[in-house]
């Protein structure tokens, strides 16, 4: 039994009078890989910001290795939902940002450049990168210091399917090699079940946990493993509030939309 690395219990988090998170509790043991999935706006990014110590205005207690969150803890790394590269630094300088002056010369930077497939672009400025290249630079920057707990906020949403698989395997390999604990936010159910030991499913208004699915499958995993698909279906059911017929919209469409009008999507019960 490994020690609990992250013990999270956020009773309430509001922006002004808007309640964003309502009683979310879970614990993550060291070395575990956990995904958070949930509809847009359910507070996933907010939760990661709390763990990273960027947001301190909340009710509840969060403990990382027994200590409250703090910005810049050597134990916690965060890869943001957007690349957030410094536009005045080159790719290599951005990756080595944490090392300070001449950080781009560090051998780890060169290694990471190759690992995220940017070996040919160390001297490019962010304005010269595609969205996916920028995101890969940001991932490399987050991987540089090898924190014990790495928070990833939809890190692969801007890259193509093939690169995404490579990056998933890269993160898994690095996590296995260094015993890193991962807390990953994603909208991709296949990604969640392939990568994680556990998928936590959230619902919105207010953000809360509706259930979790354990993925008991040894690594390395086969992406086409039928069991993964079954777990994926389970996650989808949870996302849909427990019902299976998540794609049967006939009744809702008939009730909401008079013929000849555009479909009012905001009334549909699903949104991801």
């Amino acid at each position: 039994m490994t020690d609990v690395l992250l013990d999270l219990s956020v009773d309430e988090k509001s922006f002004l009078s808007h309640r964003v998170i309502d009683a979310i509790r879970f614990a993550v043991p060291g070395g575990e890989i956990v995904s958070l999935v949930g509809p847009s706006g359910c507070g996933k990014s907010t939760l990661l910001r709390i763990v990273a110590g960027l947001d301190t205005q909340y009710c509840g207690t969060v403990r990382i290795k027994g200590a409250p969150p703090q910005v810049h803890s050597p134990d916690v790394g965060l890869i943001f939902q957007e690349p957030r590269l410094m536009p005045w630094l080159t790719v290599a300088e951005n990756i080595g940002f944490e090392l300070g002056r001449l950080g781009d010369r560090h051998p780890r930077v060169k290694e990471l450049l190759a690992e995220v497939g940017l070996a040919g672009f160390p001297d490019a400025y962010p304005k010269q990168l595609s969205g996916g290249m920028a995101q890969r630079t940001a991932i490399a920057r987050g991987l540089l210091s090898r924190p014990a707990l790495l928070l990833l906020d939809e890190p692969f949403s801007a890259v193509d399917a093939f690169t995404r698989m490579r990056l998933q395997d890269l993160i898994l390999a690095l996590a296995a090699r260094h015993g890193t604990t991962l807390l990953l936010v994603t909208h991709d159910i296949a990604e969640a079940v392939y990568v994680s030991d556990r998928v936590i499913v959230m619902a919105s208004e207010p953000g809360r946990v509706t259930g979790e699915v354990r993925i008991d499958l040894a690594r390395p995993r086969e992406r086409r493993h039928p069991q993964l698909a079954a777990w994926g279906a389970q996650v989808l059911t949870l996302l849909n509030g427990g019902t299976i017929d998540y794609l049967d919209l006939t009744d809702e469409l008939a009730a909401q939309t008079p013929p000849g009008y555009p479909i009012a999507t905001e009334h549909l019960a699903f949104a991801l």
Binding site: V71, H72, L78, F80, E82, R84, Y125, K127
Partner: protein
């Protein structure tokens, strides 16, 4: 001719640009064509000034305007040459440039320090910004008598006036630049453990650099303006003095010469800053990145 034409066509295949005028086909080297096109663009800038000079010379030569009030370009050129030959020109230019350099350096440095303070600290802003905004509203020339009273008629009041002129553009733009720094980038800095001076040096300064350059260039042009104001009123050397001297001697050619030299110096010093700006902001993703 026909032979040469064939050769040209052979050497420059179909993809090169060809200018065809009445059956005469010419295919320049692509690099040469590009250079010509760019030079053509620059050359266009000279058309209007040269035309005006010609008209000016012609109007005076025809006697429509008295050469005493409006000396023709040729006479101004002669005056400039005489000034240069006697060494007086360089003395005036040197004195004025030095004043601008010193005054601008002092004003801009102060603006950097105060701007960083006000931009980064709410409390400093509350204390300092209203006062500075009020001081900014004072017309520049209103300072002159006071500065003369306080500091005498030596270099001190001139340098001070120039520093005041350079201060405000730099200050205002720098503060605006800091205020516009992306909160998300500051968060990245915080995540990587940057605080205090390091955060300023590695996030705020580079992010505010584009605005800072705008401020520096504005400050420098105001510094030249305030230099003339200072030298017009109390000076025995410098380009502003040359202006007064020309007026007192009734020599419009001297006045116009001084104006031309001032224009050249202003343009030259701005060019230096512009060059610096282009080279330190290559990363900027602006609409007008000239290298495109």
């Amino acid at each position: 001719m026909g032979h040469a034409e064939e050769q040209t066509i052979e050497r420059f295949p179909a993809e090169t640009t060809r200018v065809s005028r009445g059956g005469w086909t010419w295919g320049p080297h692509p690099g040469l064509a590009r250079w010509l096109a760019r030079w053509g663009g620059r050359r266009r800038a000279f058309v209007v000034p040269l035309g005006l000079l010609l008209v000016w010379e012609g109007v005076v030569a025809a006697g429509w305007v008295s050469a005493y009030l409006l000396p023709p370009p040729s006479e101004i050129g002669r005056t400039l040459l005489e000034l240069a030959a006697s060494g007086r020109l360089f003395e005036h230019v040197g004195v004025s440039t030095l004043r601008v350099l010193v005054g601008f350096s002092i004003g801009a440095s102060l603006a950097l320090i105060v701007g960083a303070l006000v931009g980064l600290s709410r409390r400093a802003e509350d204390y300092l910004d209203p006062t500075l905004q009020a001081l900014r509203a004072i017309p520049s020339l209103a300072w002159v008598p006071l500065l003369l009273l306080w500091l005498g008629i030596d270099e001190a009041p001139k340098i001070t006036l120039i520093a005041i002129g350079a201060f405000f553009p730099v200050y205002l733009n720098f503060v605006a630049g800091i205020a516009n720094v992306d909160r998300k980038l500051v968060e990245v800095g915080a995540i990587f453990g940057l605080t205090g001076f390091e955060l300023i040096r590695r996030i705020f300064l580079p992010a505010a650099l584009p605005n800072l350059f705008t401020g520096l260039r504005g400050g420098l042009s105001l510094a030249w303006m305030f230099l003339v104001a200072a030298e017009l009123i109390a000076a025995t050397r410098g380009l502003g003095y040359l202006l007064t001297d020309g007026r007192e001697l009734g020599r419009a050619d001297l006045v116009i010469s001084a104006i031309i030299v001032l224009a050249l110096l202003g343009k030259l010093s701005d060019g230096v800053l512009q060059w610096l700006e282009r080279h330190s902001l290559v990363w900027r993703d602006g609409y007008d990145s000239r290298r495109a």
